[in-house]
Symmetry: D2
């Protein structure tokens, strides 16, 4: 779909700042490779402390990345003074997340005033090859911050 | 529902060992308060590095705990030599996870030979008061380890 | 959880009327056995036109019943002049829905001003015996009807 | 993703026959516009008996169509003698399904030997214009029919 023009001209800094300042985001250790209207790409480097037994990123970590990717994509369309929070996410784990990093691509599926639906596809990058390892749907609630 | 008798008499040690030896579980820092046939309770202490901006546990952390709780509950019914892995989970975030710890209670909804469905309810414990902060459905796949 | 007192004293008639007047509800042919604050029970009689090949109720029919049950349970808590609509539902099909009827029990998990989360458990009744055949989570959006 | 070559050269007839012979499919009254390896398009004409109050197709109907579309897409990759059945589906209702028909496009996201994940996007066609009205993820289980 064609994305609406972001209501916040500083959407890129707003999303980056809001997400990467979260302790839980820093605990995973990802960064953004791209922030565009209605779309983001998160890069999560391989870290041994995020794995299950066989050295692949654990499913709960992939779910958290999907949530961050979908929520961040939705966040690019928020007006100044608004924030969003996750209502729910459904994540399907499709293949082992092996390799040097995971790319989590979030995109808005349906923007709304109060509720926005996004999707996320996660790709494991192993020796430069990308393979789909998880897919998710994420629903976000948009909330106007109280006036000061 | 009434739970089947675990096929593995050592189910408690098996689940505890399999889950707590995962680096991703140690990275969250939870423990089990209870492991029974088809049911577990996970205790996740408050840790600042798992929070979002307002000091509550972040949604991706709650989703990961729901996955661990549902998957562990399902794991109590596995026969020796079998393991399980998450096919998917859907988590609904219901209220801020504020307080000193989160209890994630997993239970088997429908055990199966190859696919088991579990649920998880997460309670934030704040000043001793429990309040529901998330609920989830988790589908697990059961796999027999290859013979040596 | 303890349910709030319904904001609409006529909640039972309101839910029954709103749901059973829907053509899609009549096309399935169910009725309510119970409507209480935050809880409903739907009774769907066996009908051959709702089955898959083996004579059991088809999965999409079970999903629709779960949506109606969860949404109706949430609807009991609406204030006069408000309606609700489904944001999403996730349904896990657990066992064949064989027998003379299906009971779909919906209950509110978390009431909210704008978003309410409900759950539904579906039981196939076969020769008087009930067995769980599906479970679902349903998220509803609450909307105030425009003033006349 | 690139789809595997169907293991059944008669996949198109197999899917069409298996799905359209279901009473529950006939009760909705849809047909297939396209059946290709890993992809299908279902056409559901507007029918007043499938609507909610305002004349739009009801959410449970959309969920059922999403299930049929995802499951049929997955079914195109089954080997002869295999069938599939829905493990679960999650459907997000995005906009009113108004207009003369709904197109439900299913596609395989990840084929597997025993578990296949598919997605479905539903478009309402109103005066020839298509607009996304629902999106879903569907997990199917593949089962080999018992030998005669």
């Amino acid at each position: 779909m064609s994305m609406p023009t972001p209501a916040n001209p500083d959407y890129e800094d707003a999303v980056r700042g809001a997400v990467l300042s979260m302790p839980a985001a820093q605990h995973l250790g990802f960064d953004f490779a791209r922030i565009a209207p209605g779309e983001v790409e998160i890069v999560q480097p391989y870290r041994p402390e995020l794995t299950q037994h066989n050295g692949y990123l654990q499913g709960g970590v992939l779910g958290a990345l999907a949530d961050f990717a979908g929520g961040s994509a939705a966040g690019t369309l928020l007006a100044p003074g608004w924030v969003n929070m996750t209502i729910d996410y459904t994540v399907k784990l499709l293949a082992p997340a092996r390799g040097e990093r995971v790319l989590a691509r979030g995109r808005v599926v349906k923007p709304g005033a109060l509720v926005t639906v996004a999707a996320a596809d996660l790709y494991a990058v192993d020796g430069g090859e990308q393979s789909l390892c998880a897919t998710a749907l994420v629903t976000m609630r948009n909330v106007k911050l109280a006036e000061a």
